[in-house]
């Protein structure tokens, strides 16, 4: 997805550093202080934004390990048995996710880029050497996929204010959830 968050955050930091801060009057200490804090916040976001999911997965694995050990050691009173039962339920919900092989966001983006490139190469090759039927079919497939992709992108960027009537667009949930339910 272009632009990625890193690019946007980086541009915000640059604007604050190179344009906004130098333009602030030197005696506007509160504004200068807060602009610098904004730069700090944005720096943190730039470092973390694509790692949040990964961070949660690590945390999940650690708590699964901790809770599993506690459950294994647990014995005694009724109240402990009740807590163990609840813990086993939570571990049962976590188990399929912990077992999944989930790519990092950067890996996922790279994979999608490589698939896009392959589609493009096929289109170019089809124009050079493809039969008219293959060319036509490829074209129509690309057109159909683009329709879904563009609708998703319009929903994603609706807040940019370029749409003539943004209220007619589906929400981000609506364009993302059908795909999640498919899997």
């Amino acid at each position: 997805m272009v632009p990625d968050f890193a690019l946007r955050i980086h541009a915000m930091i640059r604007s604050l550093r190179e344009v906004v801060l130098p333009a602030l009057p030197k005696d506007e200490m509160l504004a200068i202080d807060q602009a610098n804090i904004l730069i700090g916040y944005l720096g943190i976001m730039a470092e973390q934004h694509d790692r949040v999911f990964e961070y949660l997965l690590v945390e999940l694995a650690e708590y699964v390990e901790l809770l599993s050990a506690l459950v294994e050691d647990a014995h005694g009173a009724r109240s402990i048995e009740d807590a163990v039962a609840k813990a086993r339920g939570a571990l049962g919900m976590a188990a399929p996710i912990v077992q999944m092989s989930i790519p990092r966001q950067g890996e996922l983006s790279a994979l999608i880029r490589s698939l896009r490139e392959s589609v493009d190469e096929l289109l170019i090759a089809a124009r050079q050497d493809g039969t008219p039927a293959y060319r036509q079919a490829s074209t129509m497939r690309v057109i159909r996929q683009a329709e879904r992709q563009i609708l998703r992108e319009r929903a994603w960027f609706r807040a940019s204010g370029f749409e003539l009537d943004a209220s007619r667009l589906p929400s981000i949930d609506e364009v993302l959830l059908p795909n999640r339910n498919k899997s």
Partner: protein, 396 residues
């Protein structure tokens, strides 16, 4: 953040793109210079003192007699060029003291559109007197003296939009009062540009296309496909389909006009007092080509507005059919629906290249003073893609 090989292009790759996409001489020069400097340092705000010093030396070589530069200040607005205003105080040939205000437009290291200052300079000189444009005085096309390619023009009074408060939004229309005042002038100037006879003007920075041939269109496709290859961060198969369709359907040209390529609200100045258009701005993309391109560009939904009665207005001015009818009457040139449809695809494809490929590319390299604004423009990509998709789907 993705950092790819295109940030450090090899000379062999640059040459291969030049061979693969032959285009106009000055376009080739501009794109080649852009790629050769891409691996260089990012854009950093210029020291005002440094700009004034270079400007002083530049003017010393061109002005006789004493002069001074005062009130030098940066200008906001525009996404591509760094702009400054300054006052030039001097004594004219009659011995009278005069003070004139000028605008200095300088190209940053890379811009949302990489263009050649001499093309802008020559086109503005040519059409001045036919339509209102700022007088252009000097040009430093390679930036040999001013440090960056630059152009100096007279400052024109006026505003681009009626003043408003609130957050930035591209959907700020003119409103009924100003629309009524501006619309007739706007369509007239667009028509005047189409019918203007440029043949006695200095157009040495252009390679005029031949009437009856589509070679100029192919060169224009090459220009923008080269930019796509140079700048895109990730492929977008619909863009490839569009380029293929444009090559397969490139029409011959019936009349060669100056084509502004960004003729729309926001790119002209008007006096708030009486709504008179004082200057058509932003000539950087100008070329000699097919008038249908300017018309198709303006017909894009990106520039339309909904009026108080819920009617969609082309460019924020007239309903589409009325706009075309007026344009034909005023220019004396026919609007061919097949060509208009072709240039609709062309303009949407070209515009999408600017926002989908070049905008993130220059943000990545920190190549402009306007990364933040350029980044905001990327938000227009889904809308231009949607229109491109619709236009292609109707024709494939």
């Amino acid at each position: 953040m993705i950092l790819d090989d295109k940030q450090h292009p090899s000379p062999a790759w640059i040459e291969s793109l030049r061979r693969r996409y032959p285009t106009e001489r000055t376009v080739d020069e501009t794109l080649t210079a852009k790629m050769r400097s891409r691996a260089g340092p990012p854009h950093r705000p210029q020291s005002i003192d440094g700009v004034i010093e270079r400007l002083n030396r530049f003017l010393e070589r061109r002005l006789s007699g004493a002069f001074s530069i005062t009130s030098f200040r940066g200008l906001a607005g525009g996404s591509s060029k760094e702009q400054y205003a300054f006052d030039l105080v001097r004594t004219d040939s009659a011995g009278d003291a005069r003070r004139d205000t000028y605008v200095l437009r300088m190209a940053p290291a890379e811009s949302i559109v990489a263009t050649h200052a001499l093309r802008e300079f020559q086109a503005m000189n040519a059409v001045r007197g036919v339509i209102p444009v700022p007088a252009v005085h000097w040009c430093d096309p390679e930036g040999a003296e001013l440090g960056q390619p630059a152009l100096i023009a007279s400052f024109c009074e006026g505003v681009t939009r009626p003043p408003r408060e609130g957050a930035y939004t591209p959907r700020q229309g003119f409103g009924p009062k100003y629309r009524a005042l501006l619309a007739p002038q706007f369509v007239r100037y667009l028509a005047e540009l189409a019918k203007f006879d440029w043949r006695s003007s200095d157009v040495s920075a252009f390679d005029p296309p031949t009437v009856g041939s589509n070679e100029g269109v192919i060169k224009a496709i090459n220009w923008w496909e080269r930019v796509w290859e140079e700048d895109c961060i990730e492929r977008y198969p619909l863009m490839t389909l569009a380029a293929q369709w444009l090559r397969d359907n490139a029409p011959p040209i019936d009349h060669v006009s100056f084509v502004h390529r960004d003729f729309r609200g926001g790119n002209f100045l008007f006096r708030p007092a009486d709504g008179k258009i004082t200057a058509i701005l932003d000539w950087e993309l100008v070329q000699l080509g097919d008038r249908h391109e300017d018309l198709a560009y303006l017909l894009s939904p990106l520039f339309s507005e909904i009026d108080e009665n819920g009617i969609e207005l082309t460019g924020g001015f007239y309903p589409r059919d009325e706009f075309i009818r007026l344009y034909e009457a005023l220019s004396g040139l026919p609007v061919n629906p097949v060509r208009l449809a072709y240039y609709d695809v062309f303009c949407l494809w070209r515009g999408t290249i600017n926002v989908l490929a070049t905008a993130p590319r220059i943000m990545m390299g920190e190549k402009t003073h306007q990364d933040i604004r350029v980044g905001w423009m990327i938000g227009a990509t889904p809308l231009t893609l949607s229109s491109l998709h619709g236009a292609l789907k109707r024709r494939i």
